[in-house]
Amino acid sequence: MIDKVKQQTEKRLKISLIFLAVVFLAIAGRLWYLQIIKGEEFLRRSEANALRVVPIPAPRGIIYDRNLVPVANNRMAFTVSIIPRALPSDPTPVFERLGEIVGHAPEEIATAIETQQRLPYYPVRLFRDVSPEIVTRIEEARLDLPGVIIEETPIRNYPFAEVAGQTLGYLGLISLEQLKELGPLGYSANDIVGRTGLEWVYETVLRGIEGGQQVEVNRVNRPIRVIGQVDSVPGNNLILTLDIKLQAKAEQILRERLAEIRNEGRYPNAYAGSVVVLDPRNGQILVMASEPGYDPGKFVGGVSVEYWRELINNPYDPLRNRVTQGEITPGSVYKVVTALAALSENKTTPWEIFETTGRDYVYPQKTCWILAQGRNHGRINIAEALRDSCNIVFYEIGRRVGIDSLHRWSRLLGFGEKTGLNIYPPEASGLVPSREWKQANFKRADQQIWYPIETLDVAIGQGAVLTTPLQMAVAYAAIANGGVFYEPYLVQAILKPTGEIAEVFSPVIKRRVDFKPQALAAVRDGLRRVITHGTARNVFADFPIPVAGKTGTAELGKSTSDVHGWFACYAPADNPEVVVVVAMERGGGGSGSAAPVARRVLEAYFGLDVVEEPAEEELGEDPGEIGLP
């Protein structure tokens, strides 16, 4: 019996051992499966667990003006953040101490953490772009502030605020269309890119290459150590053709003059205008001013709702660059086109004398502006007609040239097409009416016909004619330089971050028009007389440098305040080095509104206003170590 029990026990002990052996084999099999069969996969997953890449933002390229003054650069911004997890269990003393330093209530900090906290280890950004003094004070109080960190990132900075705002453009979250274009270049949906202006046109140049730090993190995502680092590469720098000092001056002059005009009362809607300063020898744009403007700096880190609302609710659209986009009726500044066409086509000669009575020979209802004063321009030649801006002479020669030829010459002088400036938003083309244009754009058969009387409007820059200030500047530059049409440009060079030159942009000649020398001479003569004896003689009285130019007064409708004032000129008249075009929207007659702006801009250009600017030397001198190409 005992033996039987013992036998059974021994048997069951053996069974137990076999059972355990089977179980252990199963466990070993599982171990084999996890470590040998699935080992590589789990290794990858353990690496994915522990390795993070922390991006190192690349500083955006700096934009310099022609004198190497930075007009868009970067600054380091300090942000005070809190890592909720690192706070002590009773964070109140930390909030009190921090609140004391930054000047906010401790409750405010507690609320911010409560509302903004996403993950316990993810920093809650409390105060952005704080002053270095606050950073110093926080660093000094480090021991009292567990969980408080200072983050430092480069952000865009525009030292001149509103100056050249539309030209430089602003940064913002990449748009869907931009992403479509830039996606293949490695951009992603939450990138901050140039949204307009040069910031967008040269986005891929200015953008650097983001670096990254490979860090090992623990379970709470806290970086434990840096495993590898790839430094970021700053973006390339731009050297503009703009003269930021002159640009600032021009904007100030423009703004002041618009305010004066409004105050004078006759033109209460004079809120918008533009100034363009162009070098007729190469097409470089020195000034591109458009009022009203905006401060791209206010877009850094996200534009505030109030500022954006202010911009889009402004009826004069500060986001619009009027130099390139402002298609407006040119009025008499356009008369040079008619004059060059008539002289080139032998429809008149410089010495032909026109007998004017203030009324057109064929259509007496078409009158000259001077008739309203009960006078007329009497016997004048074409240069004198430019001097006095006589409509009658231009009606007559316009009729002789005819719309087809006038259209052709308009296009030759660059109107009705983009100048070729590389800018965003895209340039407007303007409009030069023609028979084809009428046919294409009107419905009724009687509207599609070109009536001879309409040629008269085109001849004096009225009717359907629309031009941008930049087109006007390019045309006057060609008159000044003898027929060379340069593509205007804003960027003369791209510099690598190291200072080496990556690319230099030379002047591009779009077209050369061989004006008959005597035609050009007659027009230049007329433009010079405008300053000396004509419509701009009062404004330019005592101006020491010879200027040649033309006033324009574009009438838009019945209302007497609906008048654009233009002035287009070049100087010195005998050896032109600068073209200035001023357009004052609803600012009244060109001689009263635009010409004074042009004069002051020329004064600034030629340094005739130095008396009131003792700090000028200082401003101009900041070339750094980078050499001009």
Binding site: V5, Q8, T9, E10, R12, L13, I15, S16, L17, L20, A21, V23, F24, I27, A28, R30, L31, W32, L34, Q35, I36, K38, G39, E40, E41, F42, L43, R45, S46, E47, N49, A50, E216, V217, N218, R219, I224
Partner: protein, 373 residues
Amino acid sequence: MAQARMLTKDYDLILIGVVLALVALGALAVYSATHTRLLEAGADPTFYLKRQVFWIFVGLLAFVGTIFVDYDVIGKISQTIYLAMLGLLVLVLLVGKLVSGAQAWFSIGGIASFQPSELAKIAVIQYLANYLAERDLSSFKSLIPPFVIVLVPIGLILLQPDLGTAMVFAGILLGMLFVAGANPKHLGLIIAVALAISPLIYFFALQPYQQKRIMVLLNPYSDPIGAGYNVIQSMIAIGSGRLWGKGLFAGSQTQLNFVPAHHTDFIFSVIGEEFGFMGGLFVLIAYFIILRRGLMVAYTAKDEYGMLIAVGVVSMLATHIVINIGMNLGIMPVTGIPLPFLSYGGSSLLTNMIGIGLLVNIYARRHRLRFQG
């Protein structure tokens, strides 16, 4: 020389050697698992190591003490031990401190914590062995008293609540009943009934966190950042160790604290990650040697009482090992029971050292049978 021969003959040196090797490996793994976290917190990196070494010495003292007390003496006071243990389990429910949701600990002067349910296993083993020895278990009715002996402490432990320890008691009971001669059909029936009513237990007796752990076993990815997190991270740690491991102190899952409680319940993941398949296999073989030696002790024991104590100790260790490693490998629910000799923790180490002490004790006294018989 003669004494040395005595020692090798009387004392199971292979068993003792393997246990010491495991205990040493455990201390190393505990240090690997904890030192970075402690350093990071600015604390003494050897904090846990020192405590573990302290408990190793306490365990060795208990081990030696257990060897030198004849287990027959224990048999005489076995009911007293059992009842005292029940008293402790009641007391811990009343005054014990709460650790991760379970009221299972006594705080000793605020320095060390002690878990009476660990030592309760030894108390149950020896009392059950005493009861089952020389008893006829062929009838189903005869199985009721042993079930009551075990179900009383299980009930008290489930009140804490501690599902894992309760499962260990079930393992001890089944192992001992089987070897003591219970009808396998009866045992099979009991297991079948337990499985059949387990859904009822699942829905009515288990705490939500315990329900979750069982759900997670079925699919760890059902709750990857909650209850399934531990299992997934443990599997990643072990799997990523591959054949030879990432090396001591070089396991990213371990050193960067991706596996929670990896110095206690998930210590096997540390070994798996840092020492690889070879390390894991070494541990499995070591355990198998211990269990096999334990069954050998049972086989050679001078009486059925000693034999059943050995079987109880083997059942206890085997249940711990299988449930814990199975949990680390994602094939057992997360029940929070330690891995013998390796996991950080004094109560567990003490209990297991006493268990090994009992095995050595029984083995050393195996010959008396021959002298008497």
